[in-house]
Amino acid sequence: MLNVPDSPPASTDEPRFIDRTFGYATQVFAVVAVELQKLEHDPMELLSRAIQPALWLLLFGEVMAKVRGLSSGNLQYLDFLSAGILAQSVLFVAIFNGISTIWERDLGILHRYLASPAPRSALVIGKSLSGSVRALSQAVIVYALALIIGVDIRLDPLAVLGVVALITLGACLFSTVSLIIACLVKTRERFMGIGQVLTMPVFFASNAIYPLDLMPLWLRTISSLNPLTYEVDGLRALMLVGGQSVYGLTIDFAVLFGIFAVLIGVAAKMYSRMGF
């Protein structure tokens, strides 16, 4: 009847390292490009996202700045807060990024990605970077707001570049968390529920709106395990004139990158099973 060769043919001629790397980068970019194209078709979405950080800075920030007991080191409270709100908007944009994957699964578009030869890690990194595209556009808005209300912002190219890198990394990290949640819950309703339950504790158990020194010890311990704390810590140093990092920028970047790398591994495994 049917005869199957016992030893299957070897993989098609192994491309050289440089070609493989280029191919991998192209596959990552393919996913990011889709995000860019969609934003180009519907730019209004970005503007509507400006409301939340504006409320935090203009209402919460202006009032809290008048509270005397709130010592925020050598920084004005509003300056201190602006870095926290920047990190917060990155978190909020990124943590809901995974819903697009559930949407794609429901429609069927997911199969277009999964049936392709692109390594699952390339697809997952592409998804994460897509989240950071949105996060960066948020950052532009927060910077504009902060400048308007008179926050003392560092505008030297190196500092701005550092902020871009840190936001990209942070958004990638939280987008990947989001993707993992999406792979676990698989329905939009449950995803929204978990996303909302998750964001507030992550936000409040961090140094985003109050300094670590003010926290009770238990909260400080939790906060030191929270990646958002390192994001905010790095942003304060890079974004603000006179801003200082508690942990040091190297630690901030290293912690975020380390967590991101582990998450990519987990997400790649789970994403490949998302189509079942």
């Binding site: 060769p5 299957p8 993989s11 970019f29 889709v34 429609l107 069927g108 578009i109 199969h111 049936a115």
Partner: protein, 271 residues
């Protein structure tokens, strides 16, 4: 697979099974598809057609048995298999928020079509599928038939050896169905692509497929050319008769809520 002879078996499944818990969706399927053939997988809702296709396209792990595409094992050489196949799922797989051109560009990048060839191949694909004029329009404004043709074009950009079409004409009106088939036949003649498809429109299977397998409750109930199967069922029998004779008759009860939901969703997206 340029050096493939015309009699070579391109798709092979041997005792292929898939179990979900205690439920056996595909039960020991053994069949081969020859190079250049249009091969139909036919059966009632929930018979296991889509599960079978998902295993062959590496989207679902195999429970037992084995399968190979163009000589590559679907389990051990999944990435190689993916490079050699095109897959058009039953549900919508083109992105409505992108233009037709952008959808094709996405596929070209994911499948590693060289930059130097991308533009030419995309332009040709658009022409071949009669979509040149709507290339820059958002796909959400396409008709169902246009979306299907775009999806087929997306699956062919990397010149796969085998094209899998899962219910390619579900939810389409007769005119759109005919247009889709005209293009599929053209692909077979021009590119010599082997095509494996599922359908539950018997007339389509009868007209389009060189050979077919009738699947019932996860098992292959019959396999052969449409005329062979009709002969077996008796003089003057249609494929519908074959279908009724060979399937368990409880077929109608088999489609569950999720199948219905999926079929309707697909019909809505493509209709």
């Amino acid at each position: 697979m340029d050096n493939m002879s015309s009699h070579e078996i391109v798709v092979q499944a041997i005792d292929l099974s898939k179990r979900f818990g205690t439920f056996t969706a595909v039960d020991g399927a053994t069949f081969g598809v020859n190079h250049g053939e249009i091969f139909g997988l036919v059966g009632p809702n929930g018979a296991g057609k889509s599960t079978l296709i998902k295993m062959l396209t590496t989207l679902l792990p195999v429970t037992s048995g084995r399968a190979s595409i163009a000589g590559f094992d679907v389990e051990r050489q999944a990435a190689d298999v993916r490079r050699h196949i095109g897959y058009v799922p039953q549900l919508l797989s083109a992105d409505g928020q992108l233009t037709g051109y952008q959808n094709l560009l996405l596929s070209a990048r994911l499948y590693g079509v060289p930059i130097s060839e991308r533009k030419t191949r995309i332009t040709r694909a658009l022409e071949g599928m009669g979509l040149s004029e709507v290339a820059d329009r958002l796909v959400q404004h396409y008709s169902g038939g246009m979306i299907r043709r775009l999806e087929i074009a997306q699956s062919l950009l990397h010149r796969p050896a085998v094209l899998f079409l899962d219910e390619p004409t579900v939810g389409l009106d007769p005119v759109a169905r005919r247009a889709v088939w005209d293009h599929v036949r053209l692909i077979r003649t021009r590119l010599k692509t082997t095509i494996v498809m599922t359908s539950h429109y018997m007339d389509e299977v009868d007209q389009q497929c060189d050979r077919m397998a009738l699947i019932d409750r996860g098992r292959i109930a019959a396999i052969g050319t449409p005329s062979e199967l009709k002969e077996k069922a008796g003089t003057g029998a249609t494929l519908d008769d074959v279908f009724v004779q060979l399937t368990s008759g409880t077929a109608e009860l088999e489609g569950n809520y999720r199948d219905v939901e999926r079929a309707r969703l697909a019909a809505r997206e493509h209709g």
